[in-house]
């Protein structure tokens, strides 16, 4: 049954990719059906799991022995536990909704079949990632989602910016993948196995230094996949892809794979304080950096992308807190998957009605024209800034609470992040749905068709009730505890104090944004006489500039000098030698003039020489 989860969307992708144009007419329905079928299988497995006692919930499925070389044994085995099933439901559930949404969104795209094939491929790869029972197989899924992400970012391949963005995502992800392969290699060398079970069992016996290195390598991998500092630069460019892709891959699921990896490898991180500190640092930096970038973006999708970075920063930070945070990292991941997917779909709906214009300065007053989008986006907005009782409030509050339990600075960082989040989300809300209309000529905003709005409504419901449902009905702390372990946070600051403080920070951020963007007219063109901080935020905190200055230019210079050296010095010396020999030969060849008498003269010369030598030697 577990294999069917992966197999169904994989079958869909195979049929669509190999079927060619014959599947154009019904291909998207097949993709939706496969994704939905996978969701229902997942739901069935979930219900089955609910019916079992806690100890029996973890099930595995050994498909075949994949690699068996000496001591290196990699089974092709799947593994379903409480953590995996949460991901399976998120991936297939949100994935199916986005599949349905894409039917409407991609209606007029000539390459719709290819798009759905890639979406199915992504779902299959992502499921393989979360269902693998060893790191090696996880790596396969990891690369599979990377491939799908690359293909979908550069889906509009006729646009140079999309093609470049795809390549950028691919290359930056490779840096992270090196970390994952290093981690797997280290695990095999240290523990002799790469299965989760084996690593978890053996982790305690290993040298603490090695464990720290494995943890740091895993963190590098997570940074690459989850767009965490310092590998964050690709996510903003990834918005070149179609909006459903941004919603599914670059908000709800794939970018959270880093969080999954860290939580899955909790046995490693539990043992290394250094690695955990690094994770927390990365998370805190990214959470502030992403929020900071989000404040200055006029592109609605890039604003949301900055927000995604920031929210994943929260998750990573929570995961770095250890047993007190793992559960809340996953909890926030799930709620974020719902409300951020909803926000992205809302943004897509707005773009759909605005001729694919992404500049929020050309929006305004859309609440009257796009009521459903306005309401669903607004619910997502309330969820993300953390207004009770919406989904984001519960998960984010838990993280802030746990962070304060760890250290005051970390806690303040998360608190500040919450305020900035409220600021940029209110700014986005105000610029898009309130104020006066700043539409371009010949743009006539209209509500999207039902095939798009229904998924948005479902996700909006998730944004409203998802948090409460998981916390109170599902008891997520104890649901995940058998997998990740759980410890109650240090209650140095009680929730009774923290919640009002957090809420007031959020309300302050939102109110300030409302004053700046809701009450005042928004200029059509972004003002240029802005502070250095705004400029930095617009330039993605100079992430690309730093990458270019530190890696690209020295690399290019090195390549150029090597090329120069190769062509001039090496080729030159070899070619010069050849040319010298050739030239010398061309000249000595002239000695062969064909005249027998010349040759005879040479012979006589030789005879003279020999006679001379003989005489000299004798004398």
């Amino acid at each position: 049954m577990i294999a069917a989860l992966i197999g169904l969307p994989l079958l869909g992708a195979t049929v669509l990719l190999l079927g060619g144009r014959r599947t154009n007419a019904w291909g998207h329905f097949l993709a939706v059906a496969m994704s939905a079928a996978s969701f229902f299988v997942g739901l069935g497995l979930f219900l089955q799991m609910l019916g079992k006692s806690e100890e029996e919930r973890e099930i595995g499925q050994h498909l075949f022995d994949w690699i068996a070389v000496g001591a290196f044994q990699v089974p092709f085995g799947l593994h379903l536990d409480q953590l995996s099933i949460a991901f399976v439901l998120l991936i297939t559930g949100v994935g199916t909704l986005i599949h349905i949404y894409s039917i409407g969104y991609m209606e007029h795209d000539p390459n719709r079949r290819r798009f759905f094939a890639y979406l199915n491929l992504f779902v299959a790869a992502m499921l393989l990632l979360v269902l693998a029972d060893n790191y090696f197989l996880l790596y396969v899924g990891w690369e599979g989602v990377g491939l799908a992400s690359y293909l979908l970012i550069s889906f509009y391949q006729q646009k140079p910016s999309a093609a470049v963005a795809g390549k950028k995502a691919f290359i930056v992800n490779r840096v992270g993948d090196v970390g994952l392969s290093l981690a797997i290699i280290l695990m095999f060398v240290t523990f002799g196995t790469v299965t989760f079970e084996g690593v978890n069992a053996a982790a305690g016996l290993a040298d603490s230094k090695t464990v720290t290195w494995i943890g740091l390598a895993l963190l590098l991998a997570a940074c690459g996949k989850s767009a965490q500092f310092p590998l964050q630069s690709w996510l903003l460019d990834a918005m070149e892809g179609p909006t459903p892709v941004s919603a599914l891959i670059h908000a709800a699921t794939m970018v959270t794979a880093g969080v999954y990896l860290i939580v899955r490898a909790h046995a490693i991180f539990d043992l290394s304080q250094t690695a955990r500190t690094a994770v927390v640092a990365v998370g805190a930096i990214t959470l502030l950096l992403g929020a900071f970038i989000g404040t200055a973006k006029d592109d609605i999708k890039k604003g949301l992308a900055g927000s995604t970075m920031s929210q994943i920063g929260y998750m990573i930070l929570a995961a770095g807190l250890g047993p007190v945070g793992y559960v809340f990292a996953i909890f926030h991941l799930l709620t974020h998957g719902m409300f951020k997917a909803g926000l992205f779909l809302g943004a897509g709906s707005v773009m759909h009605g605005m001729h694919d214009d992404v500049n929020m300065r050309h929006y305004g007053a859309l609440r009257t024209m796009m009521k459903i989008t306005y309401v669903t986006f607004g619910l997502g907005f309330l969820a993300i800034i953390g207004i009770p009782p919406f989904a984001g409030f519960w998960s984010k509050d838990e993280i802030i609470h746990a962070a304060f339990g760890q250290s005051l600075f970390i806690g303040l960082a998360t608190l500040l992040g919450a305020g900035v989040t409220a600021f940029y989300m209110t700014r986005m809300m105000a610029m898009t749905f309130f104020g006066e209309a700043r539409w371009e000529d010949d743009v006539h905003p209209h509500e999207s068709p039902a095939v798009m709005t229904v998924p948005m409504m479902v996700l909006a419901l998730g944004s409203v009730f998802g948090g409460m449902a998981m916390l109170f009905l599902g008891d997520i702390e104890h649901w995940l505890e058998p997998v990740t372990g759980f410890a109650y946070p240090d209650h140095s600051i009680s929730n009774a104090v923290l919640i009002p403080v957090t809420l007031s920070v959020v309300i302050f951020g939102a109110g300030y944004a409302w004053l700046r963007y809701g009450r005042r007219p928004v200029p059509l063109v972004a003002p240029t006489n802005v502070s250095l901080l705004t400029k930095a935020a617009r330039a993605d905190a100079f992430g690309d500039a730093i990458n270019e200055a530190v890696f690209m230019r020295p690399g290019q210079y090195l390549t150029r000098s090597l090329t120069w050296f190769d062509s001039k010095a090496i080729d030159g010396s070899i070619g010069g030698l050849a040319a010298a020999i050739g030239g010398l030969s061309a000249r000595t060849r002239r000695l062969q003039n064909g005249f027998v008498r010349s040759y005879a003269l040479t012979m006589l010369g030789g005879a003279v020489l020999i006679a001379l030598v003989l005489l000299l030697v004798r004398l």
């Binding site: 003039n593 010349s598 010369g605 003279v608 006679a611 005489l615």
Partner: protein, 242 residues
């Protein structure tokens, strides 16, 4: 000065003169005669060197057979063609002279540097076999028998080789006189082939026939070619062609 000295100086000088004559003669026939002269003188020297058998052989084989073969080939190639002594390869003559002088000088100086001992003479060696010819025969047919037999193979091979090289393969059946007659009169030739016995370089209609004394016969030309200085022009061409 005893008799041997006299013969050496006279014949030796003649041999050198013959050799030089060969090198400097423009005509190949003269060269051949000069070299034959040199070889006869060398043969005389053999006699004084107590080798009458070799001297005789030298005269018979070299001056008799080899040089006559040369003369025959010269006749095939053309007796009266003379070599231009102008050198065409740059620096060849100068370098050749230099190397030749250097080589000769080295050889002579090497010989001169050796201590000359009085000649032993062959009398003792000959006496052991009961005479000069007997001695040579004994050596050839005993110690040098194998080499002698191999030379026989060599000579046969050389004869075969010469025949193969000089042989003209016939690609078509030999024409009969009848066929040749028909071709001459009815064949595709625009002009008739020269009559048998006529030494002609070409068979164009404006070529006059040669009379027995070698001069051209105006009467052999068609009347259209006579007059307007045509015959004189033809004669001039004929003369230039010689």
């Amino acid at each position: 000065m005893n008799a041997e000295n006299l013969v050496f100086w006279v014949s030796g000088t003649f041999a050198v003169v013959g050799a030089l004559g060969m090198v400097v003669s423009r005509k190949a026939v003269h060269s051949a005669l000069w070299v034959a002269f040199a070889m006869i003188n060398i043969a005389i020297l053999y006699f004084t060197l107590e080798a009458p058998f070799l001297g005789t052989t030298q005269i018979i084989v070299y001056t008799g057979a080899v040089m006559m073969l040369f003369l025959f080939v010269l006749m095939i190639v053309g007796v009266d063609s003379s070599d231009s002594l102008l050198e065409t390869i740059k620096g060849q003559r100068l370098l050749a002279a230099f190397f030749a002088l250097a080589f000769g000088g080295l050889l002579v100086s090497a010989i001169a540097s050796t201590q000359a001992s009085p000649s032993n003479g062959l009398a003792v060696a000959n006496a052991g076999y009961g005479g000069h010819l007997q001695a040579l025969a004994k050596l050839i047919f005993s110690d040098y028998l194998l080499a002698f037999e191999v030379t026989s193979a060599l000579l046969i091979t050389a004869a075969m080789g010469a025949m193969v090289l000089a042989h003209n393969e016939r690609w078509a059946p030999k024409k009969t006189q009848d066929q040749m007659q028909r071709e001459r009169t009815l064949g595709n030739h625009i002009t008739p082939m020269p009559a048998p016995g006529v030494l002609a370089r070409n068979n164009s209609v404006d070529t006059p026939a040669l009379l027995p004394d070698g001069s051209t016969s105006v009467d052999s030309l068609p009347t259209a070619f006579r007059g307007q200085g045509q015959v004189e022009k033809i004669n001039a061409i004929e003369e230039a062609g010689k």
